[in-house]
């Protein structure tokens, strides 16, 4: 066991775990951040995508020893406040970008990294940005639409959330 110190969603954390423990497991089991999902455990599906120092990574492939001193962002930290969603989350709600929702946290993080990198609403570029994230429900159409919409609206990022037209009660 070794102590590792890093930042998750702007909070400093310290965990005492074996160095080869997957970042995914540390997030879910040590830090109770279960928003990050496991789909394959071998870096194929992207469901476990988080940002490591701003870059999207498959957290199932990252041993915790590589995270020491780094800055990690997960889906739990995306919304700026409890009553305010990120522009990308709002766009997913408005366009119907989520169906079953299991790929959504990873999609949101990959999409956020693309937007933070200055990505625009160009469809081909958006498709390229999420090519490492599998979705089996949507055919990607509305996910691409959502990210493109958020890219177009990036100037007014952080506006209040909208109630989804068909939101779950």
């Amino acid at each position: 066991m070794t102590a590792f110190r890093f930042t998750v969603n702007a909070q400093p954390v310290e965990v005492d775990v074996p160095g080869m423990r997957r970042l995914l497991d540390v997030l879910r089991e040590e830090l109770a951040l279960t928003g990050t999902k496991e789909g394959c455990g071998e870096g194929e599906c992207g469901a476990c995508t988080v940002l490591l120092d701003g870059a999207p990574v498959d957290s199932c492939l990252v041993p915790i020893c590589q995270v020491d001193g780094a800055v990690v962002s997960t889906v739990e930290g995306l919304a700026p406040a409890l009553d305010r969603l990120d522009a990308l989350q709002t766009a997913f709600l408005e366009t119907g970008g989520a169906q079953c929702g299991i790929c959504t946290p990873g999609m949101l993080m990959a999409g956020r990294a693309y937007l933070d990198d200055g990505g625009g609403p160009d469809e081909d570029a958006v498709r390229e940005a999420i090519a490492g994230n599998l979705c089996r429900c949507t055919g990607y159409t509305k996910i691409v639409e959502a990210i493109a919409q958020a890219a177009g609206a990036s100037a007014d990022r952080g506006h209040p959330p909208l109630i989804p037209p068909g939101g779950n009660p």
Partner: protein, 696 residues
């Protein structure tokens, strides 16, 4: 239920192991390290038995059906053209992104509560009662948020639930059993492989005179729901076309591979791929356009299907066909490709083949397909299910929906409150849903067969109509403004709405005649592809899908269903295939079983068509499965338009396309679904080491 319980929970000592992924023993441990160590302590002594992997030669038949009308043999004699064809499709994995998973918690009364990722709470409930010998109250099933299903969580969750429950019972503490992706791919159900043979007689002007169709499905090692899949496959096997003389023989056989099961479309994608590809080949043989041959044969109002069902209403085959063809610019694109193909052929390396020799490396093609999909359970299925949906006006003045119909991304939890709030005339936010927990909700049937919107939605509207009438009769005012006062004065009201047969709809299971479905949904698809003539790689660029869903309840969700189903069909057509050796899945990881990414996905345009079904108050017929039936044959037709080669085996992999284009026999891979032998090949033929044996 419609699932035959022939699969043992565990193979008994001295019993027969019928497939590579069959469970023999159960282990539980407080952590993964102990579990791994414990696994090495298990010793299994086995003696080999001769396996069967070919459903064509298997002598164990799970189910067989025959549909007949008219006199096909006489009609073949009168036909101007008789065309034969054989089509094969292999396994397809549902590949929900969340794997199968269950948590079992033992209860004080000797029962068990199971939480899990599942589609059908009452299927699991029934399995727990039967498998553990416990009663209705001792067994409790709670659906957790479910990360996709597509049929893959219809039946297999019962297996995992029983395993977790047995361990929990022995351990006396909660046990969770969460499959990793490899375990999920290796052990859970897949779409049935099928071999479909067509012999079709037509007139010179392309009118169908006779169809003789043989369908053989590979059921895997246990029967489970194979007969129901086969039944739907058989009924849809002729395609959505009028034909006076039909014989359809269908059988499903046992093989020594993991059992196959439900996957979106449920037997119809297999047989409709064959029917559509065959019809396209007939059109080509007659020099007719694929659009024109469909116009001449598509079912119209008043036509009769092979089960003797008269199509009395809600027939929209023509409309979806015309709308998809127009929006997809089918006629214009086809004419353009005809010219390009004529230029290319003959200029090739292999004389007469479309392989390129000139500068054009990529060939474009456009393809058209049409499909029908029976709404709800087949035959008397809905009558036997006798589903119940309930609506409650609680003592606290809440309007609460009680059903076991699950949300897995398709929109159950959105559309049910929509239908109820519309009927009651109250705002959407006033309607809440009870959790899908068998302790609280009635059995509204399984969440399968595109039945939720039509069947259960219909029950909820009727329940809401009754609730509204009861309250308004008492208060004399509109429901929306009086129900809270009524509750304060009179307490709670609960309406239980049970399924009643749709008027005039009947099916005879013994003769296999009658109304196979209360109504059909109709879909047409135009796919545009590019084929790399050097590598045989296909890129599906654009798809236009026109889908008649009866009535659209939520346009965004309905489009989402069409888009997602279309991409699953594109994957089925182009890249998704399970390879087998000795009955074991070889590509049982996500690194090797591949599904389309955002870069593989076409741009999908959805046209929603509404031909309402009068048997339900809202007219909805369901949407989930329709796009899955029609996408693959459209893609295959587009590949033929680009290359001149008809691919009869799915998927149209580069290997199959190159084999077809080169015209060289013997270079094509094994047929889909076939298992290569276990015996190691001579070293010269097998330079790479075989994948490690990952025995379970």
């Amino acid at each position: 239920s419609s699932i035959k319980a022939d699969q043992p929970i565990l193979v008994p000592v001295g019993g027969e192991i019928r497939h590579h992924a069959e469970p023999l023993a159960l282990l539980a441990a407080p952590d993964r390290a102990v579990l791994r160590a414990a696994r090495h302590a298990v010793r299994v002594r086995t003696a080999p038995l001769p396996p069967v992997f070919d459903p064509l030669t298997s002598d164990h038949i799970f189910a067989a059906y025959e549909l007949a009308s008219g006199d096909p043999e006489a009609a073949f004699v009168a036909a101007d053209l008789v065309l034969e064809g054989e089509y094969r499709v292999g396994h397809q994995e549902q590949l929900y992104i969340e794997n199968n998973a269950m948590i079992a918690v033992p209860t004080e009364d000797g029962g068990v509560t199971v939480h899990g990722s599942l589609q059908c709470p009452y299927y699991v409930h029934t399995a727990l009662k039967r498998g553990l010998g416990i009663d209705d109250r001792q067994a409790r099933v709670v659906q957790a948020e479910t990360g996709g299903g597509f049929g893959g969580k219809e039946e297999f969750p019962s297996v995992i639930a029983l395993h977790a429950a047995l361990l929990a019972g022995v351990a006396g503490r909660p046990v969770r059993m969460i499959y990793d992706r490899h375990e999920d791919l290796a052990a859970t159900t897949k779409r049935h492989p099928a071999i479909v043979r067509h012999r079709t007689g037509v007139t010179r002007d392309g009118r169908l005179l006779a169809q003789d169709i043989e369908v053989v499905m590979d059921g895997g090692a246990y029967c489970t729901l194979t007969p129901v899949v086969l039944s739907r496959g058989a009924i849809h096997a002729g395609g959505p076309y009028r034909c006076p003389n039909v014989r359809i023989r269908a059988r499903a056989a046992r093989t020594n591979t993991p059992p196959n099961g439900a996957f979106r479309g449920f037997g119809a994608p297999q047989t409709e791929f064959a029917a559509e590809t065959h019809l396209n080949r007939i059109a080509e043989a007659l020099g007719l356009s694929p659009l024109e041959i469909r116009r001449r044969n598509v079912y119209r109002l008043g036509d009769t299907t092979p089960t003797g069902q008269v199509l009395r209403d809600s027939v929209a085959g023509e409309e979806v066909l015309e709308r998809a063809a127009e929006a997809g610019e089918f006629v214009r694109l086809r004419a353009r490709h005809d010219a390009a193909r004529a230029r290319r052929i003959g200029s090739a390396i292999v004389p007469g083949s479309p392989l390129r020799s000139g500068p054009e490396r990529v060939a474009s093609g456009v393809g058209l397909a049409l499909a029908w999909h029976g709404a709800g359970f087949t035959g008397s299925g809905e009558v036997k299910l006798a589903s119940v949906a309930s609506l409650e006006l609680t003592a606290e003045g809440e309007i609460r929906i009680l059903t076991a119909s699950t949300e897995m991304g398709q929109g159950t939890k959105t559309i049910f409150p929509q239908l109820v709030s519309d009927t009651l005339g109250v705002p959407y936010e006033r309607v809440i849903l009870a959790p899908q927990d068998t302790a609280f909700v009635p059995d509204s049937g399984p969440t399968v067969a595109s039945r939720t919107a039509m069947v259960v939605g219909g029950l909820l509207i009727k329940a809401a109509q009754r609730l509204r009438a009861q309250v308004e009769a008492a208060t004399g005012g509109p429901f929306a403004t009086t129900y809270r006062d009524h509750t304060r004065a009179h307490g709670a009201i609960r309406i239980d709405q049970r399924f009643e047969p749709y008027p005039g709809v009947g099916f005879d299971d013994d003769t296999y005649r009658g109304d196979a479905y209360p109504a059909f949904g109709w879909a047409a698809c135009v796919a545009s592809v590019e084929v790399d003539l050097d590598t045989g790689e296909v890129h599906v660029r654009d798809v236009v899908s026109a889908d008649d869903v009866g009535r659209v309840i939520h346009p965004v969700l309905a489009e989402g269903q069409v888009e997602g189903g279309t991409l699953q069909a594109v994957g089925y057509a182009t890249i998704e295939e399970i390879k087998l050796r000795d009955g074991r899945y070889l590509n049982d990881r996500l690194a090797t079983y591949i599904i389309p990414t955002s870069l593989d996905a076409p741009r999908i345009t959805t046209i929603l068509v509404e031909a309402p079904f009068d048997g339900v108050p809202h007219g909805a017929k369901g949407v989930g499965e329709l796009p899955m039936d029609v996408g693959a044959p459209a893609v295959i037709a587009a590949i033929a338009d680009a290359t001149g080669v008809w691919i009869a085996d799915l998927p149209a992999s580069p290997e199959r396309i190159l084999a077809g284009m080169s015209g060289v026999a013997g270079v094509a891979p094994l047929p889909p679904g076939a298992s290569e032998p276990a015996a190691p090949r001579p070293p010269a033929a097998a330079p790479a080491a075989a994948p490690p044996d990952r025995g379970r």
